[in-house]
Symmetry: C2
Subunit: 578 residues, 2 copies
């Protein structure tokens, strides 16, 4: 028997196996997952495992290594989150999300820290030796909402899209704030004196860390898209690039002390559109499936490890401090949400209801990120107190809040996610309104959301697509292919009969009027995959029509619309001939 | 900048990226891969990389770690090989393959070793200090054909299926022999005296290592199949089990000093059939795609590392020894193939032609396995000589033989792989002959290949399938689903008209006559995916008919065929009603 030779991969494989089997186990009993969130069950399995290890070895089970967590377990989950992020609601609410993520987190940190510092001054609690700086360090890690925990719970309760994106977006983007505050206070710990310059530099760092992360992510995302242009002859390694480049973006950001989470999200959101157009359908299935699988395993492992690491002798149970931490976390978050939403509602038409506010405040779950960070704290004599407080806060939020949020959502009748996908009619309508609003913003000279979206789309179609997409942009839907084939046949017939004249052949014009014709055919298609494809094509091509149509753009000359007129004429000709 | 924090994953990712980009690079120039095998190009890239590292650091670049190779790079390739192994030609030629793999490898080892030992006695070569035992160690690692190198070259030249499986099967199964001989001689190195008992124990080990590997593999394979029975509600982690269990089988086998390669092949071949039936179509696409991707990346990395590791100062260039090693490798392999094939051809109807023999002998490429093993040799003063000899043999076989084998295959007009898949008619014919032969063997009391296959199939359908498959065995093909739906509708109509009587409903009988009806529909289907599905269903169900049909089995009573008669009657009734 030669165990140490294979020990590392063997134990990793066994842990993953345990995680997967635990997942299967829960789903065998249909009732269990509908009452208790999976994350709770997994922590419970972890607790049992930890108890067994503790009982057998009579020493604390190994805690989750922070390096393993940040380098190997977290990236797949964030990649999955970024890749499948619904971009429309995300960008529509980006202002609110950033407000919650940046201002809200800072509010929480300082609220919790100064209240806790106040508690530390009470002599009866024996906490006078916990300095303000240590409290600041603790506050910076305990204040941030955890994306893994939020995702695990919110994926199961199906609240409406806006509410989901607000909580989830906040949990992702507050990483930049957490990183900055945590590192700032850590460096303060090591400094003899703190000057006001250092504090100012800290504020400047927010922007560097956040925007730097976005930049790194976008660079890697664009490179990934560019690389997949050349994989036509070697389809089998296409999915690899999606994973490699996003992981590299994360590692590079971490290397430069930027926000890795922000980087990987920017990378995934940036590349998605181009990569999807470049790679084959099977590669894309593999990418999607593997991403889901990987994040699901990571997620499972994280919760199991959370449970395992809880058992042991790493804790100092000073209950006043711990209880007040839980209370302050809840209170300050609730206050923060109320105050910030008040301002948001004043400037937005689409207000956040008080029910939504309650769920946002209540959904502020803490998870494995703070757990990993608390073990990374510099050693000092009350570190075990912080570990105990963090553990209790995580268990409280995941178990109590996680288990009661679903009944509360039912009780409050919070608006749910709509079950069906939007119909094509709705999609066209939404898009029509987008264009209308972009036009209105353009005419009125207001540089709003639609104006920028319009500009970005223009930049995309004019430059980015040409560089990043393979030249032959073939539609994937079989119905469109069939239609093109029929059209080509028809065009040849027309040409043979001499009716077409010297105009361009129909198929080359189809890129413009495909959408119109597809729409007519829609009543006959019910297959959701095909429908999705059609919607994707609509998404792309409706825009093209607007770009080529008679513009309400101040910078377009009438002469530029000529090809569209030409296309229209031929379209009319074609309709007549039919 | 915090590089060492992310160093490990960053460098791994960069190496994989380099490998993938190199692969894309070759395929951009279509002419290159058609002349030079990819493995040569990759070694070349590795040589350049190694040269750069050597030039910059002025010391030898790091050699490929044997642990990394055996634990992380080799398993994906072997898994891919085992999973996509064409089982029919493999089992048809299993005797010949085993003969080549076991007897042939032993022949090669001892042939090469004693010839080299003879060379060592020549005073002019200054090799008298290389003992017989050291030669034996060297021989045991240099004699074995390498599956990775063989796969890389033979996948590109498309020889006929039998020839391919003979060379490839040998390269996979000789692992057991290599492991035994290598470990035996290593332990001899450390023993003060060698007794004849030790040699006998070594011979016994062959069976333990080989059959033990098969056993470990089958146990894990069956467990994997059993696990996928329960993944219906959690499709997303299905692909994971295929990878986890096969990797565990490899690691477990390695842990017990059994043949990991044999174990993973047995695991993959054992589970494939059941896993495919249990998991969803998308999961299966992911499994297939990811396996190909992973093995492709591993393969690329191995060849690049081979190139990198070649550069440096690890070599002792004693040219007589090196040249004679190359010559003896070629000569003894050629002799071995000739002698063994002589015996094979005497006992088989389907003979191996002299052209095939030449390609088998010439296709005996060496690769990364011997390279990793030579670095694992115990330290002694002429280890560098062995490293040099191994490097030259690998480069010679991969470059010279690998690059000339394609022109030689063309020149000799070796029978190629047929381009098209066998038609359904052919498949039915082959299967019919199988049953006929099984019947003949059964009647004549000859326990041949078909008899055992029949028994295995019986055991499978009677016990294994019941345990390992989910109970509702739904066909995946949409055409069959549609057909069942139409049938069900028809049955309801018949029932309403009172024509059906008290017979069982049609759909429940469809399992028996589905094949007949599907065949009639075949002319209308051209989609290869659908065709493949149909062929799969045929494969399963034609057997079922034979099992349920009036048997040429001595142990079946006439009464047992009653349900078939019943089904037939209803089929006739149905045909009339149509």
């Amino acid at each position: 028997l030669d165990y140490q030779h294979v020990q590392v991969p063997f134990e990793i494989t066994l842990w993953i196996m345990l995680a997967s089997l635990a997942k299967i186990g829960f789903h065998l009993y249909n009732k269990l997952p509908s009452v208790v969130p999976e994350s709770c069950l997994l922590i419970f399995v972890g607790l049992i495992m930890g108890g067994i290890i503790y009982g057998l070895n009579d020493k604390s089970p190994p805690v989750m290594d922070s390096d393993i967590f940040f380098l190997y377990l977290l990236p797949p989950i964030v990649l999955d989150a970024g890749y499948f992020m619904p971009s429309r609601p995300f960008f529509e609410n980006i202002g609110t999300i950033l407000l919650y993520a940046v201002v809200g987190t800072i509010w929480n940190v300082f609220g919790i820290v100064f209240s806790l510092y106040g508690i530390c001054q009470v002599k009866a609690f024996h906490l006078q030796d916990v300095s303000l700086l240590h409290n600041l360090l603790f506050g910076s890690l305990i204040a941030a909402v955890d994306p893994v925990a939020v995702l695990a719970v919110f994926e199961e309760i199906h609240v409406n899209e806006k509410l989901h994106i607000l909580v989830f977006g906040e949990s992702l983007l507050n990483d930049a704030v957490t990183v900055v505050l945590y590192k700032l206070f850590r460096s303060f710990c090591e400094m003899p004196t703190i000057q006001s310059v250092d504090v100012l530099a800290g504020v400047g760092k927010f922007f560097v860390v956040g925007l730097g992360g976005v930049l790194v992510g976008l660079i890697f995302g664009m490179t990934a898209a560019f690389t997949t242009r050349f994989t036509k002859d070697i389809r089998v390694i296409e999915p690899l690039f999606v994973f490699l480049y996003s992981y590299l973006s994360y590692l590079t950001a971490e290397m430069f002390h930027l926000s890795g989470i922000v980087a990987i999200i920017a990378c995934a959101m940036g590349m998605k559109r181009y990569v999807e157009a470049n790679i084959s359908l099977k590669s894309h299935t593999t990418v999607k499936y593997f991403m889901k699988m990987w994040s699901s395993v990571s997620d499972t492992l994280i919760f199991i490890f959370l449970g395992v690491s809880t058992i042991g002798e790493n804790h100092e149970w000073n209950w006043p401090y711990i209880c007040f931490t839980v209370i302050f976390c809840l209170v300050w978050r609730a206050l923060g949400v109320l105050v910030l939403t008040f301002f948001v509602n004043r400037f937005h038409v689409n207000t956040i209801t008080s029910k939504d506010q309650f769920i946002i405040a209540y959904g502020g779950l803490r998870g494995a990120i703070c757990f990993s960070l608390v073990f990374l704290l510099p050693d000092f004599h009350r570190k075990k107190l912080f570990i105990a407080a963090t553990t209790v806060v995580i268990l409280f939020t995941v178990f109590v809040q996680g288990m009661t949020i679903r009944p509360l959502v039912d009780l409050l009748a919070v608006k749910r996610k709509r079950e069906s996908a939007p119909t094509v009619g709705e999609q066209i309508h939404i898009r029509f309104l987008d264009h209308l609003l972009a036009g209105i913003e353009d005419i009125s000279g207001h540089w709003g959301q639609y104006y920028w979206k319009d500009k970005l789309e223009y930049f995309n179609s004019k430059y980015l697509q040409k560089i990043l997409l393979r030249e032959y942009d073939q539609p994937k839907s079989s119905i469109v292919l069939l239609y093109e084939k029929l059209e080509r046949k028809h065009a040849i017939e027309l040409a043979e009969a001499g009716q077409l004249g010297h105009g361009p052949s129909h198929p080359s014009l189809l890129h413009n009027d495909r959408t119109v014709v597809t729409d007519r055919k829609l009543e006959h298609t019910l297959n959701p995959d095909v429908l999705e494809n059609i919607q994707e094509i609509l998404t792309r091509n409706l825009y093209r029509i607007r770009r080529m149509g008679p513009a309400y753009n101040r910078h377009t000359l009438p002469g530029e619309t000529e090809p569209v007129e030409h296309a229209k004429e031929i379209l009319i000709l074609r309709h007549k001939s039919l």
